[in-house]
């Protein structure tokens, strides 16, 4: 561009002709053009005001959820110590009946407590846990009896690792505070989550899935569709299960 400076002094022939053309061109048909500038811009203004579509944002509301499900209350309220139960609408201590009734055999058909469906794996005998002679107590393997509040020790006899994990906080649920020294710290016991007669956690209805902004239709559940290659890792999951479980 120092070059172009010199170019001013010795402008080539061609450049002269061109610059002349450039200057002349300013005088040509621009009369009409300048006249049109204002109206054109006014038309644009009108188009913007009247014809421009408003930018829309699609709505993607969080589906309504039942707030009562969002609770920190334990899943179950276990029997107290001493345990009480409702018979014909009246609250009764267990032994009010059981002190009169002769203890039956575990294999017998139940006449009372028919709501109890025992599904505790190998543990299929009432007297494994309930004391035969004092129904307000539980019985340990060594024959000693503990109150219902100590049910943890009963469970711990078989579920040693779970018990160990529970004492360390790796299993179970801790509420109130993460700090052991905090008075609000409380650890739920086994039976506050698990039904001792059927300890498997019952399946739950899941709450609504994500529906985020402009998400579109969700991805297909079967990810094997996304790649044609057969994945040996997924041999036992996608292929078999998805087809059966998918139509829930």
């Amino acid at each position: 561009m120092a070059k172009s400076f010199e170019g001013v002094a010795h402008e080539p022939e061609d450049g002269h002709r061109r610059s002349a053309r450039g200057a002349r061109s300013a005088g040509g048909g621009d009369g009409v053009a300048t006249l049109l500038v204002g109206p054109v811009l006014l038309v644009v203004a009108a188009v913007i005001v009247f014809a421009m579509p408003r930018a829309e944002v699609p709505s993607s509301p969080t589906p309504l959820v039942r707030t009562e499900l969002l609770t920190d209350a334990p899943l179950r309220t276990p029997l107290g110590d001493p345990p009480r139960t409702f018979i014909a609408g009246f609250e009764r201590r267990c032994n009010e009946c059981h002190s009169i009734i002769e203890p039956g055999d575990s294999r017998d058909e139940l006449l009372q407590h028919q709501d109890i469906k025992l599904a505790h794996g190998l543990n299929d005998d009432c007297y494994n846990c309930h004391a035969r002679d004092d129904r307000e107590k539980l019985v340990l393997r060594d024959g000693s009896m503990v109150g219902y509040a100590q049910s943890v020790h009963l469970c711990a006899q078989c579920h040693g690792r779970m018990y160990r994990d529970w004492t360390r906080g790796a299993h179970g649920k801790t509420l109130g505070s993460w700090d052991r020294s905090n008075p609000a710290f409380r650890r739920l016991t086994c039976v506050q989550c698990h039904d001792p007669h059927a300890p498997m956690m019952p399946p739950l209805e899941p709450m609504p899935g994500p529906k985020t902004l402009r998400m579109g239709e969700p991805a297909p559940a079967d990810h094997s569709k996304l790649s044609k290659r057969r994945n040996p890792l997924l041999m036992w999951s996608i292929d078999g299960a998805e087809k059966e479980g998918g139509d829930h």
């Binding site: 610059s19 621009d30 500038v37 644009v44």
Partner: protein, 414 residues
């Protein structure tokens, strides 16, 4: 000082002068810019929800355009290096148009970043707590603005000296800045590439090859853009563009495009041959994932365009005709825009780092904002060329009148 202000005023007035084609072009650009401005105002009121972006694909067309344009801006250096280092005379005559392009394009880049911000009103926070040198974005802020200032200085200084019919003080005010600008040009695109390649959570970006590929594609698309621009300048203004300049740029473009294709192949080979899980984004880009394949037609278009451009450039008789060069330039400008804009930004987000697939489609509003910025950039560039050409040709200097002003004086006296 007064002289300088008068220079600015004359430039300002000159930018309103031209023939009907000039008016039509300027009004057209103004209108598009206004549509873009309108769309941006809607976005300001409603939020970025007016764009097609989502939490899953959180960068889109804006950042894609930004990335592409940083490359175009950096490519000005491909005129500067031959002109100043290798003393190429032909390019020396037109180098200023490349630098002006860099100015206009950097302004477009800054606009694209601004429209992408959720809270542009808090822009000042950049000055109050600048996370430098940790955040690559702060590097980008520095290099982009620095490059803008450098080019503004180089162009402004040259034009003003020519206007005043003064010999520019090359050793002090020109050459050092030109040399800095050369390094700086490489840096703006490298830093922009690092912006992406430094993110470990996005395997599609997390490659060492991203920065070289950026530079290669930039040095193809940028000079291609300049080749077309120079011909437009040659045709519509009084400035003569030597054919030798186009020939040199053609070589630059050919080499750069070849390297770009080579790097692309290297990248594809590594990803696909390895077959790692990381290739999913790339798989999505080139072949789609199941029913999700929005980008597939785009990227293959880009590949076809780029390969055609490459073949055209290597054709034995391509040296003769300008039109072959022009066609391949158009092809590669579009091709690289797709490849580097949409093809580089969007797939990195699909699938998300935790495997969700949500596709991205730009909205009308978003496209309008982009068009508006492009139009505004072209508007700026047109004005800059409109002013620069008469100054360089000696038609507008501090002690002469421009023909248009001459006529007005004549009109007065009559």
């Amino acid at each position: 000082m007064t002289e300088y202000l008068r220079f600015l005023y004359r430039c300002f007035r000159l930018s309103f002068v031209g023939d009907w084609k000039y008016y039509a072009w300027m009004v057209f650009l103004t209108c598009i810019s206004l549509f873009g401005l309108n769309a941006y105002c809607q976005q300001l009121v409603t939020g970025l929800g007016t764009t097609g972006m989502t939490d899953q694909v959180s960068w889109g067309l804006y950042i894609a355009n930004f990335t592409y344009l940083v490359g175009v801006a950096a490519a000005a250096v491909m005129l500067v290096i031959p002109a100043y280092i290798y003393k190429n005379k032909d390019l020396h005559d037109v180098v200023i148009f490349g630098e002006l392009l860099a100015v206009a394009v950097i302004i477009m880049c800054l606009l694209f970043v601004t429209v992408d911000l959720g809270r542009p009103d808090r822009f000042i926070h950049l000055f109050l707590r600048f996370n430098f040198p940790l955040s690559m974005l702060t590097w980008d802020v520095i290099v982009l603005n620095g490059y803008l200032l450098l080019n503004l200085h180089i162009c402004g200084y040259l034009i003003y000296c020519t206007y005043r019919r003064r010999e520019p003080n090359k050793k002090l005010f020109l050459i050092p800045f030109v040399l800095i600008a050369i390094v700086w040009a490489i840096s703006i695109h490298t830093v922009t590439a690092f912006l992406y390649s430094g993110l470990g959570g996005r395997p599609f970006w997390n490659h060492a090859i991203i920065a070289p590929r950026f530079i290669a594609s930039a040095f193809a698309a940028g000079p291609a853009f300049i080749i077309l621009t120079l011909q437009v300048i040659d045709r519509f203004t009084s400035h003569h563009v030597p054919i030798g300049a186009l020939r040199t740029l053609r070589q630059v473009v050919t080499v750069a495009l070849t390297i770009n294709v080579f790097l692309l192949i290297s990248e594809m080979f590594t990803e696909f041959y390895t077959g790692a899980e990381h290739a999913r984004s790339m798989h999505y880009l080139y072949f789609g994932l199941g029913e999700y394949d929005a980008l597939v037609p785009w990227i293959w278009t880009a590949i076809v365009l780029n390969s055609t451009a490459l073949v055209l450039l290597y054709l034995p008789h391509a040296k003769r005709g300008l039109w072959i060069l022009n066609v391949s330039c158009v092809l590669m400008i579009v091709g690289i825009w797709i490849e580097k804009g949409m093809g580089l930004i969007v797939p990195a987000f699909i699938p998300t780092p935790i495997g969700e697939i949500v596709e991205y489609t730009p909205t009308l509003n978003e496209i309008l904002v982009c068009l508006g910025i492009w139009a505004f950039g072209l508007l700026l560039y047109t004005i800059m060329v409109r002013i620069t050409v008469p100054v360089l040709n000696g038609e507008l200097t501090s002690d002469t009148l421009h023909p248009s002003e001459m006529e007005s004086v004549r009109h007065e006296t009559v």
